[in-house]
Subunit: 344 residues, 2 copies
DNA sequence: TACGAATTGGAAAGCGCTTGCCCCCGATCG
DNA sequence: CGATCGGGGGCAAGCGCTTTCCAATTCGTA
């Protein structure tokens, strides 16, 4: 059943050359004479030889894979980021080990162990919390680390992120300008820096408009998922009518979609009774029951840039400058917040 | 910067034992005396030793990773499948290399090469076409192969799928029963067996009702995405009113969401003017502008089962029986098709 | 024709780990 | 009390590949 497992030696024998020469054909084809090269290549394809990357990696010290650790595979935001990463790495012939921490520090840590055992070239990660200690240790061992969707606090670690504070501000300002004075913020877990920053941005927008910051009421969620969104909406609707928010700003679109579902179920009209703004502008936001206003992030670009930074650091360590790339988000207004409230 | 790369030898020295003993502590702790074991363990943690999986793999012949090749990472169907896979493999301490063929045979093949180089234990794959030849070759080389969301035609290859024909039938029958006589089928690329089977199922439902099969009109799409769905809807609406379909059955929910968007944009009422049924029942289907009827598949279970099959074959080759697992889909009726048409 | 330079390919030393084999030593048995 | 037994651990041979160092061959040139 299991084939004969052809190795570089078999190729060498068949081509009538030494093992070293075959290796050269594989890695530095230019230094071997054309005639020998074709002969070796022929032997390779005759035998169906596929080099063993483990052996290569063992010899070279580091492999051709890199790890990508995200908070949630099921979140389209992250799948788009992953696409960007893949785009950049695929071109460089590298494999991506895709890990899903699910926002759980324990799982995150387990995956980091695994990646370390694999001797990956580097790790692109959206950390669950500020687990910098663990990441610094990784780096000290020679594993490149690039923070994804999170600003690095250390000058010697690259990061690619989007200005979440600004995003929060855009959303907050938009809601204030359309007349809202009681706004609910749905997000969580609070442990996530993204959530805190988006909240802070919204608070800033309120202050800027001369409003008291307690106009923005936090509804924490256990996770950034559709189900958690439905749950949060139920809590919001549980408030006495007079104190109830007239607008909801969600830390991501999954939550917003959940909120929207629950509001619809309870027959609350969006945006007339409650306006809604999400975050990420995932593809499904535009297709929602009420097309969702959302803060757009350059998702694929985020991934592509992070991967590029890593590859650069890996291939040209001397040229490479550590940097914190920050993109700007952009507010996309759709139905869900297209209703201007009379001041009350 | 790069740390001292501690190897098993350093651990051995520090613990005052031989390299072999350290290895034994790692792999067969029971055969090592308790006192030695604790000493070694202490050394390991003092030094922060992390075993090099490449070396282990080289020695053992095969690694602790497996490949998962899907048609589209951005499709929630596949991310849910991936979650199932991860669930099963994570428990077994295995890593998943997540690959995205994007429905492109070339990319698929490139990823297969890569996985082969990595000497993965096995590959879980939703093949782009019936590229069985390539997969059989893989198998002959000792790489386990399990087909995912696709029925295996060979008795010696495991597969886990959902009965797509039945799914198509359920959708078709439902539409026929609610009075539709002109139905559009949106799906593609036609190359995908899933698409063809779902279509065939719907055709069967028509026949069963004594209707001519040309009542089901195919609108092929280049890809199973939201954008392609919008495009297909435009084509459907381009038909003369009299011949225009009163219902659309889409080969997946992404397409259905796209169709819905375009219909809404052109102010065609769903379901009154045109009813809509999707496939997969992704989470976003229920949250759509008009909640989408859809054929539900046990997504996570699909992934979990496939991974379990692979692990079983890997760990207990003698016990293992190759099998073709087939789950049954289920129709979930929501707003988008909840309107019964008068016969015309 | 002959010498050195340049080119080409071979030999061999590991990379870090697993594992079969063997040895040592204290315990058990006749 | 000597021979036997068996558990614990050391030794060393590679796994498949890369890469450095050299030897051999070829070519250009005087």
């Amino acid at each position: 059943m299991a084939g004969p497992a052809v190795s570089i030696r078999d190729v060498a024998t068949r081509a009538g050359v030494s093992v070293g020469t075959v290796s050269n054909v594989l890695n530095r084809p230019d230094i071997v004479a054309a005639s020998t090269r074709t002969r070796v290549l022929a032997a390779i394809s005759d035998l169906g030889f596929v080099p063993n990357d483990a052996a290569r990696q063992l010899r070279r010290g580091r492999g051709r894979t890199l790890g990508l650790v995200v908070l949630d595979v099921a979140n389209p935001f992250f799948t788009d980021v992953a696409k960007g990463v893949e785009e950049a790495t695929g071109a460089a012939g590298m494999a991506v080990i895709f890990c899903n921490s699910d926002g759980d520090p324990v799982r995150e840590s387990a995956y980091l162990d695994l990646l370390e055992e694999q001797r990956v070239q580097g790790v692109l990660i959206t950390p669950v919390d500020d687990a910098n200690e663990r990441l610094v240790r990784l780096r000290d061992r020679g594993v490149l680390v690039v923070l994804l969707d999170r600003r690095s606090t250390r000058p010697d670690v690259c990061s690619v992120s989007v200005d979440d504070r600004l995003g929060g501000e855009l959303a907050g300002r938009h809601l204030v300008e359309t007349g809202h004075r009681q706004i609910a913020f749905v997000g969580g877990p609070w442990r996530l820096e993204q959530v805190r920053d988006r909240y802070a941005g919204a608070v800033h927008a309120l202050r800027e408009a001369g409003l008291d910051e307690d106009r923005l009421r936090r509804f924490d969620t256990a996770s950034p998922t559709v189900a958690a969104g439905r749950d949060a909406a139920a809590r919001i609707l549980g408030q006495p009518r007079s104190a109830r928010a007239t607008a909801v700003f969600c830390a991501n679109d999954l939550l917003a979609l959940g909120v929207l579902q629950e509001l619809t179920r309870q027959q609350v009209r969006v945006p007339e009774e409650i306006a809604l703004v999400g975050y990420d502008d995932i593809e499904f936001a535009a297709a929602a029951a009420v097309p969702l206003s959302s803060v757009r992030q350059p998702r694929q670009r985020l991934g592509r840039t992070a991967a590029a930074l890593m590859l650069e650091e890996s291939n040209e360590p001397d040229v490479h400058q550590h940097q914190q790339v920050i993109f700007e988000p952009e507010l996309v207004v759709r139905e869900s917040s297209r209703y201007t409230r009379r001041e009350s």
